[in-house]
Symmetry: C4
Subunit: 269 residues, 4 copies
């Protein structure tokens, strides 16, 4: 006896969230993930590193070792290890322990540890919030079904910024901060998205005129992706409220999800 | 005679807005609130404090004492004092008189008085504008029913700014103003929301490329919350298209305008 | 003979746009308006004033005198002069000639002449573009029917900027550019609307954290007015595409504008 | 034999994308276009020009000569040369070879070569992605059917920026960066579109108050074009809900999904 039950027990604790031990494990895991992300952030703040630098390094290593153990336990306990290793979560799990080791050889490499934030996606599984999954899925569906329109839209935006950016390079020139066409295109993106840092800004009258045109274009076409997504979502939410049942009496189809009788002829559904 | 009628009279004047005295009281109250908020604002302007500082302090204290009296009269006159004290308005009423007293011990504390602005929410009650309440409620309903989607959306936004902010820290480094990961994340938020102060801006080519990606993401995904709210609102306003007929058989209320038979029990409408 | 016909002729030329002389008059008028607006703009450019200042003044006066004559001819020829004087267009016509005269006594007063731009609204009447009027009306209807929601929305925005602006004053203080509460509120408006000049920007960690919250609020709630207007417009456009005709055969009501036969029973409409 | 078949063969290779040689030609063409656009961009970067300037010029000339040959082959092989020359693609093809030659006489002229980017629109034909064309067409339809409303909207925006820009010139004056009315109008556009460079920013209290108003207007009215486009798109996607049945009587096509009789002639569907 023994080997298989232990494997199964580990599987239950690590992968499932229905048992108490599984839930406790998941919550500890989430806290550890958040802690490690916060440590990475604080590790980059000058004043704090000088004071707590050694403490940060110690915590980083403890957490990384724990995550490494957890990673190998996952591989050990799962039925199809290869499938897990190459799954979305498997890759993220691996990517989130590698940076600390890379940091040994490559200065700054351990900052990549920030990718651990992606492990927080597990939170949805822990909290068992099915409606968040539904929400995410319906958002994804709306985005995916409007993919073609969004690509066309992006192509137009990119063409506009390339062409207007190049013209601005000719109009303003390096002496006004438009040092090259790539920089001018960068400026055009900053402008059309209405971000507007102001590190580069047109100085000549023609330049300001062109910039105004670009701004108004940017201001107006933001309506396009919004319209695309809105209409997809409305269509999506409209389809959800409907059942696909057909009245056997009068063949009327457009019944609500909660309908028990046909609203046209009164026949039972 | 006497005790109860007085209590009731006070109640009528302070809490109700149907009688003339009640209306007059409410309008005086609103003017006093606005006056006290304006005083707090002006009290922070250097030039004015030197000139009118004492006047401001006097008005502040007079208004605070009046609001304190009003607060205790409310407690005295209401039937269930505890329920009022811990109600939404009760807490705001308390919070809006405390700061002046706190200001005696804690410099700057009286600025918290600005919270009095929240008392202006009473204006809706005074103006008896039922449709504003309806409007607020329908906005609230749309927001609340799209809560799950908005949380998913915010999680995505936060993940993007944390990851891209960290990468920017590695790419640009402290010498270009990205002094730490938290600062870089702050920059990423400034960029993805299209605010773009420009106090921190990428200087390297890779940095500007990444910033461009972030801007276009920000520009495009603004469409997502907009789509969410729009579709919720349309669904909400669509429900107004329902008939008010009630099935006499099963008392079900939510019939479509073109329904001829109850969709719950099949009875004729 | 004479007096009345002349009055009528003037009326036809000035007020109507169906006759050839009326159309010519209107087009000349539009050109004159645009010219006078351009002159006012150029009149403020330093380099140009030194060169062409006198020319600008002469054109300004000629146009003003012509507009004054036109104004009095309008009063003379119209049937109910008082009604015209106090109408929307009448007031604009008056306001657009006054500034030049005011400029005689008050330096800079003639810049107010820019209000002449409003006279361009007449262009719609001249071009007889009924569909622009329809478009404007349907936009206006959508805005007006969502008035209550927009006011509630603005109240929330204003409360947020006042409260967060005041807190920022306490957090950042005058040494970081937040010199007073009104200035901090101004900064909060610049931030929540995602304009982000960057002339004032938070320097402390707490300040940047609060600013991030404000930005994300601003980024998210832009969805609210958009949702309001979208849902109103969709409701509005839905109603327009329908006729109010009822099938006399089966009493079905929901016919399209271009329908000639009932789509339920085939009866003629 | 000979002349015509060669002409036809060239036509097949250059204009069509169904044969293998045609596809290969199109892909080489796309790569060449992208290469030439990238070269133009890099050609403007100071550091790179000094190193690779001659290389860039050589590639530019080789590509231009190839494009020129291709252009004349197109004219030669097409059946109606004049129709091609004055078609949309024909003009773009010409415009994209001219700049290099112009650059011989006019410094900087060769930057106009960037217009070659428009040739990338051919990519859709190459990839045979019919659904992108459909997407582009449905976007175009939504934009075109809301043209009147968008023009009215732009007129309002332009009036607001002209009037508020002029007032700001009077309020702030040249000493705060508002050097002339055109510059102030430029600032107003930067502000109302929420770009906010910050190169010009109001300094006086009145100016900041007016700027706040302008920002809130800009923040609120972005909802208007969004609402317009959204409602058009929803209407557009609603039309997809139409059936494809055609009335056998009058050939009318645009029937609703639930229609039983043709709404034009009353014939049964």
């Amino acid at each position: 006896m023994a080997d298989k039950p232990i494997k199964e027990k580990i599987y239950e604790v690590i992968f499932e969230a229905d048992t108490i031990t599984g839930k406790v494990f998941d919550i500890i895991l989430l806290v550890a993930i958040i802690l490690s992300v916060v440590i990475v952030m604080l590790d980059s703040v000058d004043g704090l590193v000088q004071k707590y630098g050694i403490l940060f390094t110690i915590i980083e290593w403890i957490l990384t070792i724990l995550f490494t153990i957890e990673y190998f336990l996952r591989i050990y306990s799962v039925k199809k290890p290869l499938k897990y290793i190459f799954s979305f979560y498997g890759i993220i799990d691996l990517l989130s322990i590698l940076p600390t080791y890379i940091g040994l050889f490559l200065a700054g490499g351990h900052y990549l540890m920030i990718i651990r934030i992606l492990r927080l996606l597990r939170v949805f599984r822990v909290l068992k919030l099915a409606r968040y999954v539904t929400a995410a899925r319906s958002l994804g569906a709306a985005l995916s079904s409007s993919k073609a329109k969004i690509i066309v839209f992006l192509e137009v935006v990119i063409s506009v910024v390339i062409i207007l950016g190049s013209i601005m390079y000719l109009v303003e020139g390096p002496e006004n901060g438009f040092t090259s066409i790539p920089v001018s295109i960068y400026w055009a993106i900053v402008t059309i998205t209405t971000v507007g840092y102001g590190d580069i800004a047109p100085q000549t009258v023609t330049g300001q005129l062109l910039a105004s045109v670009l701004m108004i274009i940017g201001y107006a076409i933001i309506a396009v992706p919004t319209g695309i997504i809105s209409s997809e979502m409305i269509r999506g939410s409209g389809q959800k409220g409907k059942t696909s049942r057909i009245c056997q009496n009068c063949m009327f189809e457009d019944h609500d999800l909660d309908a028990k009788y046909c609203k046209k002829c009164g026949g039972k559904l």
